[in-house]
């Protein structure tokens, strides 16, 4: 009796010791994830960094009223939301590209060629957006490679402004993110294809199925669950485009169409020093995103009996 008590006491002591060992990391996690949430109260103040929170004036719902009540601000918000949705929907609409890429690449029999394709198409995923912009600049600026080529071939006299214009901005952004992400996005599908039971293919071939039937009836269905999960996640992230791509590509000409929510928050918050209104906006964005994630997760549980988070 005495002995079991002392064992359980040393056990408990050890439990506390283990906790103390991870405590520094828990503090870090708290400091950089939970603690910043207190900053949401800035959206109810007219926050001036120089004055600090205590010196700033409490304004209640002023910023929310401006966001939705003031007609100029409302027009701005609608423009930014339109950009956000356009960019997100274009990317959701083309989210089956990596799937097709994987299915068709799987049909190539030469291992060497396949490997080469995979190696080179995945590479752009590992460079930063700054570098992508640098490449875009080298190729598509008014003095870039494409314009020199077009002028040398006498196709056009004046340089075409690919980068500093507002033509087809959303489409261009989609093309760049596809260029960067297509090969990488297909890797997960290729891994899933590698896991498909080969006897399925053989049985179907014996039954007289040709290449296209195999692709359509065996490979494709094997990939759909993965596709579904990724699709749900991108729906949940519809407001989160990130800002890096749009920040590096933005200029005075395309700002109208390139400013997505994340970039707008940066431009008004940090560049424009509108801390409070930017916080109000990003708080709303965070709340919508988290609720979307839960909805999507609920939907996935209902439809597939599996949660995605």
């Amino acid at each position: 009796m005495q002995q079991t008590k002392s064992i359980s006491r040393t056990r408990r002591k050890q439990g506390y010791k283990y906790f103390l060992m991870i405590l520094p990391f828990l503090i870090l996690s708290f400091l950089f994830s939970y603690f910043p949430l207190h900053g949401w109260i800035y959206s109810f103040f007219d926050y001036k960094p120089a004055l600090g929170l205590s010196g700033s004036e409490f304004v209640g719902l002023k910023w929310f009223k401006i966001l939705f009540g003031n007609s100029t601000q409302m027009r701005e918000l609608l423009r930014v939301l339109r950009n956000t949705f356009a960019v997100s929907l274009l990317s959701i609409g083309t989210s089956f590209f990596p799937l097709l890429f994987a299915i068709f690449l799987n049909e190539i029999k030469s291992k060497k060629f396949k490997r080469l394709v995979q190696t080179l198409t995945t590479l752009p995923n590992f460079i930063s957006w700054v570098l992508v912009y640098s490449i875009a600049f080298s190729l598509f600026s008014t003095t870039g490679m494409v314009n020199s080529l077009l002028q040398n071939l006498d196709i056009t006299d004046t340089a075409i402004r690919f980068l500093d214009s507002n033509n087809l901005t959303w489409l261009k952004m989609l093309l760049w993110s596809t260029w960067k992400g297509l090969g990488w996005g297909s890797i997960m599908y290729l891994a899933a294809i590698a896991g498909v039971d080969q006897s399925l293919y053989e049985a179907a071939r014996v039954d007289g199925a040709n290449r296209f039937k195999l692709m359509r009836h065996i490979t494709l269905p094997a990939l759909l669950p993965t596709y579904f999960v990724l699709l749900m996640l991108s729906v949940a992230n519809i407001l989160n485009n990130g800002m890096e791509q749009y920040y590096v590509f933005q200029n005075a000409f395309n700002k109208e169409s390139i400013e997505v929510l994340d970039l707008y928050v940066y431009n008004t918050g940090i560049t424009g020093a509108g801390y409070s209104i930017a916080t109000a906006l990003s708080m709303l964005k965070s709340l919508v995103s988290v609720s979307l994630l839960f909805c999507v997760n609920f939907l996935s549980k209902k439809l597939r009996g599996e949660s995605i988070i």
Partner: protein, 310 residues
Amino acid sequence: MSHSQMKSPKASRIYDHSMKDRLFKIFNYTVFTILTLICAYPFYYLIINTISANNLSAGGSINFLPRGIHFQNYIDVFNLSGLSTAAMISVARTVIGAICTVLASAFLGFMFTQQKMWKRQFWYRLVVATMYFNAGLIPMFITMKNLQLTNSFWVYIIPAIVQPFNIILVKTYVESIPTSLQEAAEIDGAGILKVFYKIILPACKPILATIAIFSAVGQWNSFQDTLIYVSKQKLWSLQYLLYSYLNQAESLATLVKNSGSAAMANAATQQTATSIRMTVSVVVVLPILCVYPIFQRYFVKGIMIGSVKG
């Protein structure tokens, strides 16, 4: 013989079929060749232009093969003020950041498998939950400012130490290691840290390598944290420096032109806005190209990191 085969209806169907098959193959190889060229050519274009005569590359006439090969550009950009500092900052944040994340993920992933820990499940969930929300740009900025991390090198390292998804990866991996290993070591009198150091770290090598390589690439490519938290030029990373060069390459070219090393340069090695921009780009991308063959092996595990984080 093939002629007679063609006549029978069955054989003609086979012929038809193989014809379709061949067309498909041609189509497939063509499409993938084009896609691959589109992905690879820009890198090739940058590289051949940085080693070609600068007056030719500024005129946009180097498209397929380098001409007038020289390496003066690389010598000149390293003399640009700021580039070597930025390179040092980038290397330092990549190495230190990756090491910290790997060790922290390994340790936490392992500790969260220890049933004895006080309120283990609660702490674990608390850490994992941070994957699904963030406070937003301005609150983060103000927090960093209050923690005195803005304009400090440590803003690159400290916030990135605890990565929930990496912890999940390690935890799952540790759970697949037989617990008898740990128990045997404990009977021999090893403490938890010794178990971690002697048994868990070596056993988790594959997963830790994946985490190391992906966090290193992430650190190297990171641009946004410099943009938001750092204004001191001494702390700029290479990515940020490249971005600033992209916006002011003209004035940079004059800067280099007037500096001593390039004073007697001829037109072929005279720095231009184009040559500086491209050379710095290659300097930024070269480390990625070098480690790329190694980390291809870790792709499948890595994509899970990427998809959940993104």
